[in-house]
């Protein structure tokens, strides 16, 4: 999995590509951990347009990121889900935890101004 990060304060947009499974969650956790620690990442948009598979491992690492950001006042918006990924994402109930948007711009604009 490749992760590309853009930072337009105060929002970090992470562009993920490839498979988000047991073998790539470690990389995702390392990157997001460094961004939180070194770059003060709080508002996160996950662009999954190029992610063709998400396993329960990926969902678990997403939940871990959410749990890390929650006490810091952070939020996660998910954007550009493919149909098969959306099936898993919504089918596992994660749609109620992390709002999904059609694209990254919409996801970025949806952050409340007070945050």
């Amino acid at each position: 999995m490749e992760i590309t990060v853009t930072h337009i304060p105060p929002i970090h947009t992470l562009y993920l590509s490839g498979r988000w499974d047991a073998f790539t969650t470690k990389e995702f956790e390392n990157v997001t951990g460094e961004l939180i620690r070194d770059d003060g990442m709080r508002l996160v948009v996950l662009d999954l347009a190029n992610v063709d598979y998400v396993s329960s491992f990926g969902l678990r690492s997403l939940l871990g990121l959410g749990k890390t950001l929650e006490p810091l006042g952070g939020l996660i918006h998910v954007a550009a889900l493919r149909s098969n990924v959306e099936k898993v994402f919504v089918g596992c109930g994660f749609g109620s935890l992390f709002p999904a948007f059609p694209d990254a711009a919409a996801a970025a604009n949806a952050f409340p101004d007070t945050v």
């Binding site: 396993s55 329960s56 969902l59 678990r60 871990g64 749990k67 089918g91 596992c92 109930g93 994660f94």
Partner: protein, 683 residues
């Protein structure tokens, strides 16, 4: 040992290449070579010096020979008037200065050679009573004192006393400045009253050749080098030395010199050995020679050289001793290290004998600045302790590994037993199930069992997978299935069983540093044999597929969380009804995510086309799926667990008129339909 290694191409410091064992012989060879060259060089210089000096002496002798011949001719010719004047006047008139002496003086001066400036001329008369009468001294100088030549002079006087009055010569090295003097003498007669001649005395003319003596001194190597003249009667110019008269060597030298005229020989004199170079002077009745010491040629220089050689030898021996001690200091620890390494290599970790404390320091100093053996001993001790501990660790690790493998094998066996127990399947169902684990312990599993209720038999099918790896996750997996089994057997609906299982799992599941426990995705279905109705709930598990005569469809996603996400999760029961002969396939999402060696996913489309084309029994269906998966990944050991459960409902027990041909009929499932087993989301 660390992972560091030294390749053969690595540069080795030069100082490390020169081993001590090579240094000692190398230094010894160098010292021997240097000493040999020094000694040979000394002898070479000595030979060259002797040869050079001899050559110069020979050249000087030639000049002196010419000089002597010239003076001889002058004396024999020019001094004749002086002799006649003396004979005419007699000794009584020698001191009549104004008359006779002046005339004698004039005669002498007239007879002086033109080169007289280079010569010192002394003329005197010695009478028969041994009294000397000076006739003329060198101008401006005191009369010479003839100490060294006194005896030779006496012999010369006696020699000429009875001869025919011809001039004889004798050369002496005399005087303070050691001038070379050629002495000519002739008898002087007087006539008595009868006119008969009688011996009056001996007239002596000394011609000193100071320049020759000076030249000899400049070419003499050292003060120990002595130049001498010897006549054919054995008289010579060197002072008498004890034993000279008895020394056969000197007699041999005399014979040798006058026999060979020119040459070189070894002569002993005064207990020392000399190299004597000799050559004739003038007509050959006078020889010129030089004593060159065979030893101590350079005198003080030789002694200084000997001193330095001795000091150098001492230093060399001291250096050898010191080098040996240094080599021992270096090689001893290395030797001990090799022995220590041998002991360690065979697993002998017993403490080595402690090295002796250095005698050079007091004990506190030795402990503060330990010497090489002590440092090696300390290092070896640390190494031994570390290796001993490492060996214990490895032993423990091996035992742990063996135990873990045993436990894993046992766990796998238990898993297999749990999954593939001989569970009874109701007659109205055909069930096939297969698990293809990626390792010894699977993280995906299934369970099925039947339960007899009042309205008929119910078949429960459960598939589950855990989002973690390792034994704890596998153990969690193996606790979930029995837990759900118990909950379902107790009469709970699938949704109730999932809610309770979620609560229980969160109470003991391992929690990571983010506060997350492993997810467990579960599908629970209760299949009623009587009418083919399925009451199901899913906790994040991909929905099963329905396969019926060339068509395949999947049940909808439940939208409920996997177990372990949060504590208050709510799960919903769903109901669907199978048609007679319809097959329900339970599989995990990992099946469609399997990758080929080219990185291509197995994909849901490939699975759907496979299912749609399937016409055989559930067992054949599962086998075709597995074969397709194995072919896709190129191995019979898939990278992910593959759990497959296929259930086919045969149909009703008996057909009843007006019943729904598909068996749906809108009937409530028996038993569990009451109470908590309502279709729809639980509130």
């Amino acid at each position: 040992m660390s992972g560091q290694s030294t390749s053969s191409s690595a540069r080795i410091p030069y100082r490390s290449r020169l081993a001590v064992r090579f240094t000692l012989p190398l230094l010894a060879i160098l010292a021997f070579f240097s000493g040999t060259m020094l000694i040979l060089g000394y002898f070479h210089v000595r030979e060259q010096a002797v040869a050079g000096t001899a050559a110069q002496i020979r050249q000087l002798a030639v000049f002196a020979s010419f000089q002597e011949a010239y003076v001889r001719r002058w004396t024999e010719g020019g001094a004749a008037p002086v002799v006649r004047a003396l004979e005419e006047a007699g000794p009584d008139r020698l001191y009549e200065y104004d008359t006779y002496r002046q005339r004698l003086e004039d005669a002498i001066l007239a007879a002086m050679p033109a080169e007289r400036g280079m010569l010192g001329i002394t003329v005197y008369l010695e009478d028969t009573q041994g009294r000397r009468h000076a006739v003329r001294f060198r101008r401006g100088e005191e009369p010479l004192h003839f100490t060294p030549g006194e005896d030779a002079m006496r012999r010369a006087f006696l020699a000429v006393a009875n001869n025919d009055g011809s001039w004889r010569t004798f050369v002496s090295e005399s005087g303070v400045g050691k001038e070379l003097t050629t002495r000519y003498y002739t008898p002087v007669n007087k006539r008595d009253f009868q006119g008969l001649p009688s011996r009056f005395g001996v007239l002596t003319v000394d011609v000193s050749m100071a320049w020759v003596a000076g030249r000899i001194r400049t070419i003499s190597l050292t003060p120990e080098t002595q130049v001498f003249f010897m006549d054919n009667e054995g008289a010579w110019t060197l002072p008498e030395a004890p034993g000279d008269g008895l020394a056969s060597d000197l007699a041999r030298l005399h014979r040798l010199m006058f026999a060979k005229q020119t040459g070189q020989t070894i002569v002993s004199r005064e207990g020392k050995k000399y190299v004597v170079a000799y050559m004739p002077l003038g007509s050959g009745d006078l020889m010129f020679g030089m004593f060159i010491p065979e030893k101590d040629l350079f005198g003080d220089l030789d002694r200084t050289l000997l001193f330095f050689v001795m000091v150098g030898l001492f230093l060399f021996l001291f250096a050898l001793l010191f080098l040996k001690r240094t080599a021992n200091l270096i090689l001893h620890p290395v030797h001990e290290l090799s022995l220590e390494a041998k002991r360690l290599s065979v697993g002998d970790f017993s403490p080595a004998k402690a090295p002796p404390v250095s005698r050079s320091f007091s004990r506190p100093l030795a402990e503060q600045w330990p010497d090489e053996p002590t440092r090696l001993y300390n290092t070896a001790t640390r190494l031994r302790v570390a290796l001993g501990q490492r060996q214990k660790d490895l032993t423990l690790l091996a035992a742990t590994r063996e135990r873990l493998f045993g436990e894993i094998a046992l766990a796998g066996k238990l898993q297999h037993t749990l999954r593939h127990g001989t569970q009874k399947v109701p007659d109205r169902f055909i069930l096939a199930a297969e698990l293809s684990p990626a390792g010894h312990i699977a993280h995906e599993a299934f369970d099925y069992f039947s339960r007899e209720e009042g309205t008929g038999e119910t078949l429960y099918c459960v598939t589950a997978s855990v989002t973690a790896h390792g034994i704890p996750a596998a153990l969690l997996m193996d606790r979930v299935l029995p837990l759900l089994h118990e909950l379902l057997v107790s009469g709970m609906s699938p949704a109730e069983a999932l809610e309770n299982a979620n609560t229980i799992i969160l109470s003991y599941a391992p929690i990571d540093k983010k506060g997350l426990s492993p997810f467990v995705s579960v599908f629970v279905g209760a299949l009623f044999a009587q009418d083919g109705t399925i009451l199901w709930a899913s906790a994040g598990k991909p929905p099963p597929y329905r396969i019926f005569i060339g068509s395949t469809a999947s049940l909808p996603w439940s939208g409920d969380f996997p177990l372990g996400v949060q504590g208050e999760s709510v799960y919903t029961n769903h109901t669907t009804t199978l048609r007679p002969g319809e097959t329900l396939l339970l599989c995990g999402g990992r099946l469609t995510a399997l990758l080929s060696p080219d990185g291509e996913a197995f994909g849901e489309e490939r699975l759907l086309s496979l299912l749609t084309a399937a016409t055989g029994t559930p067992a054949q269906l599962i086998e075709s799926i597995r074969s397709a998966c194995f072919a896709h990944v190129g191995s019979e050991t898939p990278p992910e667990d593959i759990a497959l459960v296929a259930v086919r409902w045969k149909g009703r027990y008996r057909a009843s008129p007006g019943s729904d041909p598909e068996g749906y009929g809108g009937r409530q499932p028996p038993g569990g339909r009451q109470g908590g087993m309502q279709d729809g989301r639980r509130s």
